[in-house]
Amino acid sequence: MASAIRIVNGKVYDPSNNIDGVVKDICILDGKIVDKVPADSTTLDARGMVVMPGGVDIHCHIAGHKVNLARKLMPEDHRRDVAPRDKARRSGTGGIVPSTFTTGYRYATLGYTTAMEAAVPPMGARHTLEEFHDTPVIDKGFYVLLANNVCLNQLLEQKRMEEFRQAVAWWLNASKAYAIKMVNPGGDEPWKGRKNSNVTNLDEKISGFELTPRQIIKALIDASNDLGLPHPAHIHCNNLGHSGNYLTTLDTMKTAEGRRVHITHIQFHSYGGERGKNPISKAPEIAAFINDNPNVSADVGQVMFGTAALMTGDAPLTWLLRNMTKSKWINADTECESGCGILPFSYQEHIYTHALQWAMGLELFLLSKDPWRMVLSTDHPNGGSFMNYPKLIKLLMDKAYRDETARAVNQKAIAKTTLLDIEREMTLQEIAIITRAGPAKLLGLKHKGHLGVGADADITIYDELDDREAMFNAARYVMKGGQLIIDNHEFSSDCEGRILHVSPEYDAGIEEKLRPFFEDYYSIQFDNYPVHPRYLHDDVRVPNLA
């Protein structure tokens, strides 16, 4: 199609540029947004429609070793949700963990054009990038797991801070990652080496090291800030899912001492109550802390009722739950780097804890004063599929619908939350913030999440409907880098999407310091470890913050 396009008559929501539902033209030339295009350019009439930047998912699990293990694990889930091949699309299967092609197309269907895989051990980077190559339409990157890295922990333990920082930079380059991810910092060593135990507080000594989780958290928060990474350290806190864990979460956020940090699927980390007993909601306390601390951002990790698949570097948690559900369970350890647990799961309205988690997620969204720092995620597929986003948006925008749903679930749980007292209904502009502008800003993606001149022409056009779920369920038009992917609800073309990664500078001398550790403790050769650039295909090296 023509590379110059003008979108006319659409109601534009572009929070980054303070455009809130104004009818204005959007001009596109060669994949970018420009201020004007020739008069004879193709026009796209968006009358009665809403124009937004393409959606940006800041935290999901869509590619790599653990995701593929989950795919292989659940054939019974795929067969009820098939995705036939058509003129523009490869075939595939859906369910809670869709095949790669289907994942890309379904994100596009919802109007999403960027998604970040949130947990990849460095050794799994090649596999993840291979799956990215087969995940169409969306741009994507991944966060690399560094909080249980034996080599880095040894450097920390020996207080070799400069080498630690160099090694972190090397690892980001070697794996072609986008950001630093921490999962249950320090928890892998007791899990693998101490008969499946775990760490429970930030100041407890990690078995095998003269080191505490807090030291790891602090060091990696500092490293990501000092290296000027576009996205700060992305933390899955300790004690996920345990009653009383909100204290650990507050403790973790305080450890940042005012520096930028992102706490992920914070709903799973906002529980009061006594460990081992039923949780209660401390969402208001967590929301209040984030309101008062502009250095902290979070995504919610909303739980949605129905099928889910727990898929996390936090293996001890899945083992705990596996012993309740007795369903098929996967554990997958990666040498010197990470653990991983996978468990098919379902959230049910009548179960106290599930209903509480559902309500708490909504509390976190609605009690947060700054939507730019409390953005949307279901931690797909942990809290439910990303295909639930439209329903979640309706819950946030429509109090009547929200309360009606809340009254149909476990009332003991709802009574333990403030949900029914909350009057707030989000506006389309606020939805545009938590699904696009906010995540893009938190990720430091200057060319995404907005429609200003110079931005990538990743654009979604929805029919404006009163039923917000129906509206966000099927974008009318989706443009990726100026290419029309969905044309009047039909997939008209396909594209591969690009790999987003960072490459902070480091002193090459660090490699010779790391080599001996690899020779002793890894099972692959140091020289075969870094990802070859050919795995990047079409990539974007996202610059550090100035």
């Binding site: 694990l73 659940m74 054939p75 019974e76 067969r79």
Partner: protein
């Protein structure tokens, strides 16, 4: 309504449209136009079958060597499907009601995941009779499957409810991982019956060695079994008199699960 196979398929023919639910109220022409899949090609029912209709009181007859034809009676909920000849895989899969009768042999996955109705096979059946698909823990959830001949491995895999009766011998892992329900095999059981079973009953007319996780309880004459066997006899299965009143060894298992399942082995004279 009568369907006669006039052309042998060269590759598997998927025919889930051949069921009373789908054919009800259709004229011969309409029925002949229904889609089937010959390998990757969509074809019309009439390309392979001569239809003489109409359908009366829900009865459909299919005639010919259908051993390459899959998914007949798929998900059927009512009516009668009579198959004169051998038939291929997935016959009556996911059916919820009605009746299927086969004069010849049936292929694998007979009555896979069915929830109601009855399937009777005069000849032999393949593997996974009333079973689950891979990855799923649940097989047949209700209804009856009666096979006069022999059946293959994994009959009643993941069974939750219903009755599976085999007049001849059954293969290995009969009733594996079953949760409830009844499996009766008048002939020999293969090895490892009831592996992983939680509840339910597996009965055999012949003695066999069980897994080390099954424990011997007693010899007795189970009354419920008498009723079941009379019922099967009424359905036309040849049940020896000895089995009706004879003594049975009772074993409990699987000890690795809840140990609430039972295996009954005929202990009388033959």
């Amino acid at each position: 309504m009568k369907l006669r196979l006039h052309t042998q398929p060269e590759v598997p023919l998927e025919a889930e449209t051949i069921s009373p639910d789908q054919l009800a109220g259709k004229s011969e022409a309409e029925a002949s136009a229904l889609p089937l899949y010959h390998g990757k090609e969509q074809v019309a029912l009439g390309d392979f079958f001569t239809v003489t209709g109409p359908m009366r009181n829900g009865a459909v007859e299919v005639e010919g060597d259908l051993s390459r034809v899959k998914l007949l009676g798929h998900a059927m909920s009512s009516g009668r499907l009579h198959i004169r000849g051998n038939v291929g895989a997935h016959l009556g899969a996911e059916m919820s009601g009605g009746e299927i009768a086969v004069d010849g042999d049936a292929g694998d996955w007979l009555g896979r995941e069915m929830s109601g109705g009855r399937i009777t096979v005069k000849g032999n059946a393949g593997h996974m009779v009333g079973g689950a698909v891979r990855g799923s823990a649940v097989g047949i959830q209700g209804g009856e499957i009666i096979v006069h001949g022999n059946a293959g491995n994994e009959i009643g895999h993941g069974m939750r409810r219903g009755l599976i009766a085999i007049g001849g011998d059954a293969g290995d892992f009969a009733g594996v991982n079953m949760k409830a329900g009844t499996v009766i095999v008048l002939g020999h059981l293969g090895i490892r019956p009831g592996a992983g079973m939680k509840r339910g009953s597996i009965v055999s007319g012949r003695n066999t060695e069980l897994l080390p996780t099954f424990s011997y309880d007693c010899v007795y004459q189970p009354t419920f079994l008498r009723y079941y066997l009379f019922y099967l006899r009424r359905l036309g299965l040849a049940v020896e008199n000895d089995y009706l009143s004879g003594p049975y060894q009772r074993w409990s298992g699987d000890g690795l699960e809840m140990n609430r399942g039972e295996i009954l082995l005929y202990a009388g004279p033959h």
